[in-house]
Amino acid sequence: MIDLFTATGLVLICTLFLCLYRVIVGPGACNRLIAANTIGTKIILLLVLVGYIYGRNLFLDIALAYAMINFLATLAIAKYLEKGCIC
């Protein structure tokens, strides 16, 4: 039997591949950027779910670090697209 949290994780993985498709074939850089950002958010959710399913608090730390670095990466790519450098 699959419980609720495992099912949620599986659905998240399926939608993650939809975003990956948009990253690969998406027209223009902005679509790719937003799709990659969405993948990052889904990965955070997936990390928290895995931490809950296996009962390990350690995954929450990793999810926090991932959220902070993900924000930084999105900001850096957006600035590079706008100005051509990250200075």
Binding site: N57, L58, D61, I62, L64, A65, M68, I69, F71, L72, L75, A76, K79, E82, K83, C85, I86, C87
Partner: protein, 142 residues
Amino acid sequence: MKQDVVIRTVCRLVVPFIQLFALYVIIHGASSAGGGFQGGVIFASAFILVGIAFGIADARKRISEKMTVLFSACGLGIYAGIGILCIIFGGNFLGYSFLPLPFPVPEIRGLAAEAVEIGIGITVMAVMTSIFYDMAVDEEAA
């Protein structure tokens, strides 16, 4: 991006939390996920965030290149100093149990390991920030 209020405000709010989390990762590294290297990288990401949102000049005002060199040498000095202190008191390099502190041996091991992690964290933070400065300057010149 100088006039973007949203990004500047969000960065000003987020940077202290990133630094606090980096210190947590460094200090708590011995007993859970993380350690000196990971905490140092997260701490450096706070400076990189300042450099991206407010401009490289503002980040340089907060931690200059001279300070990054000084910090990396300081962290390496902490690491090597504790290791060589252990040799002086008759153990191996980083053999913590020979340090003459007034605690039982497991606590000496824990304290010395934390001090070494702090040294590694300072070094990694300084080196990552200086790598970011170098790359940004090259982009600017090109």
